[in-house]
């Protein structure tokens, strides 16, 4: 299986969208499982093995902040979009809207 595989291309497209989705939903804080449930409920199920490492990567890029809290006897790591994350979110959102509009036009004109 290579990155040029057609199925992988679809997933590559999805991967960028997941980052945008995560940054947008974490303007309100969530822990990993609650975020996954929220994304799933809104039609974007993200595999567990993708979401948790992604959260950590975004945090290491300082796009998210996190802190551990014990809730109902269970330690949970709560994430929130950082200031840098919000700036990136704004830029990505603008780009996304332009892309959607352009691509819709292209796809309709095919």
């Amino acid at each position: 299986m290579t990155p040029q595989d057609p199925a992988n291309m679809t997933l590559e497209l999805r991967r960028g969208a997941i980052i945008l989705a995560v940054l947008s939903q974490l303007t309100k804080e969530h822990y990993g499982y609650s975020l996954r449930e929220r994304l799933s409920a809104r039609g974007l199920p993200v595999p567990e093995g993708t979401l948790y490492p992604l959260l950590r990567r975004l945090e290491s890029l300082e796009l998210l902040t996190s802190d551990w809290r014990v809730v109902a006897g269970r330690p949970r790591r709560y994430y929130r979009t950082s200031h840098a994350g919000k700036q990136l979110l704004k830029a990505m959102e603008t780009e996304w809207r332009v892309l959607v509009e352009v691509l819709n036009g292209l796809l309709e004109a095919k």
Binding site: Y33, P47, G49
Partner: protein, 345 residues
């Protein structure tokens, strides 16, 4: 829950140490959340699979440990990936232990002096550039693992379709069983107590019982192997034997290793080294005073012959054995110190 802990430990084992604690904690919390949600759904009347089946299904969704660990590390760049990381670590440990062994051998060689055959062996090891060759070998280990990493990268885990296929075919029941590192073996401890008590009795009450029947010049008599050098170091050996008995009784009482018992165990090893070192470096280990031999029934000629020909050889042999035992103890101490540091951190 055993499967979940095995999964978390397997993932963690493939990650750099600095990531482990945090990833373990978050993974455990997330898996428990998912299981709780499943239990709540089952309570609402939803058709639920058996708990073990659900755990298997859940772990499959998270993906094989190597794959998940790779996701945590992707983007950071690595010479050796998570699939090969445990094997790489094991290989490097062996190389490092060999280096430590050679350093210890050279120290022992320095201590025992040039008239000892061990000095020649140790000098040979050190002077033959083995030390630098082994350091170089560490570099080769990295290179080989890096090449294997490159060669196997066509099946890299970050290709999503391959990932999905691997997840579905992966069976969580194949997760390695991680033995509790603090668990004790009760039978082994009890056998060790019996051996220690037997040695105390043997050395204290029957010191001449350790020996062999020797034939020379047509005479055949018993020769005790515990000479003045051995008997002088006996006191510390007793401390070591008694310490081992006390430690084993403590372990049997608490039923597991703790940090204090691990420290105590290391202290006992130091005592054994302190007891054996004078035997390697000091006076005669084997009983070889001709007068003693004559007193035990040997003729003067035979006593002279034994003292001249056989005892020096036996002496060197026993010193060599003791030196090997010391190296073995130091080797085992290194691994136990590593375990102790892991328990503390």
């Amino acid at each position: 829950m055993d499967l979940i802990e095995r999964y978390i430990q397997d993932v963690s084992h493939r990650l750099p140490r600095r990531l482990r604690g945090d990833v373990e904690k978050e993974l455990r919390s997330s898996l428990e959340d998912a299981l709780d949600a499943h239990a709540a759904n089952a309570g609402d009347g939803a058709e639920a699979a058996a708990p073990d089946e659900h755990v298997v299904e859940l772990l499959r969704k998270f993906g094989p440990p190597a794959q998940l660990a790779a996701s945590y590390r992707s983007g950071t760049g690595f010479l050796v990936g998570p699939e090969l990381y445990p094997a790489f670590l094991k290989t490097m440990k062996i190389v490092i232990i060999v280096i430590v062994g050679i350093v210890v051998a050279s120290v022992v060689a320095g201590a025992i002096g040039e008239d000892n055959p061990l000095f020649e062996i140790a000098k040979g090891l050190v002077l033959s550039n083995l030390f630098s060759e082994i350091v170089e070998a560490m570099g080769w280990v990295v290179l080989v693992f890096w090449i294997v990493q490159l060669v196997t990268s066509s099946s890299r885990v970050d290709t999503p379709n391959a990932t999905r296929a691997t997840s579905m075919s992966w069976d969580p029941h194949t997760l390695p069983r991680r033995d509790d590192p603090n668990r004790i073996g009760r039978t082994g401890l009890m056998v060790e107590i019996a051996i220690m008590i037997a040695l105390i009795v043997l050395f204290a009450v029957f010191p001449r019982a350790v020996g062999a029947t020797v034939s020379t010049n047509g005479e055949r008599h018993w020769v005790a192997l515990m000479g003045p050098g051995f008997l002088a170091g006996r006191g510390l050996l007793y401390v070591g034997f008694v310490g081992t008995v006390v430690l084993n009784v403590m372990l049997l009482r608490h039923n597991r290793w703790t940090i204090p018992t691990r420290v105590f165990d290391l202290a006992i090893s130091v005592i054994f080294i302190a007891a054996l070192l004078p035997m390697v470096t000091g006076g005669n280990v084997v009983a070889n005073a001709p007068a003693d031999l004559v007193a035990n029934g040997w003729s003067e000629e035979a006593a002279d012959s034994l003292s001249r020909d056989m005892f020096p050889f036996l002496d060197k042999l026993l010193r060599g054995v003791f030196a090997c035992v010391i190296v073995g103890i130091v080797w085992s101490m290194v691994t136990r110190v590593v375990t102790l540091i892991r328990r503390v951190t």
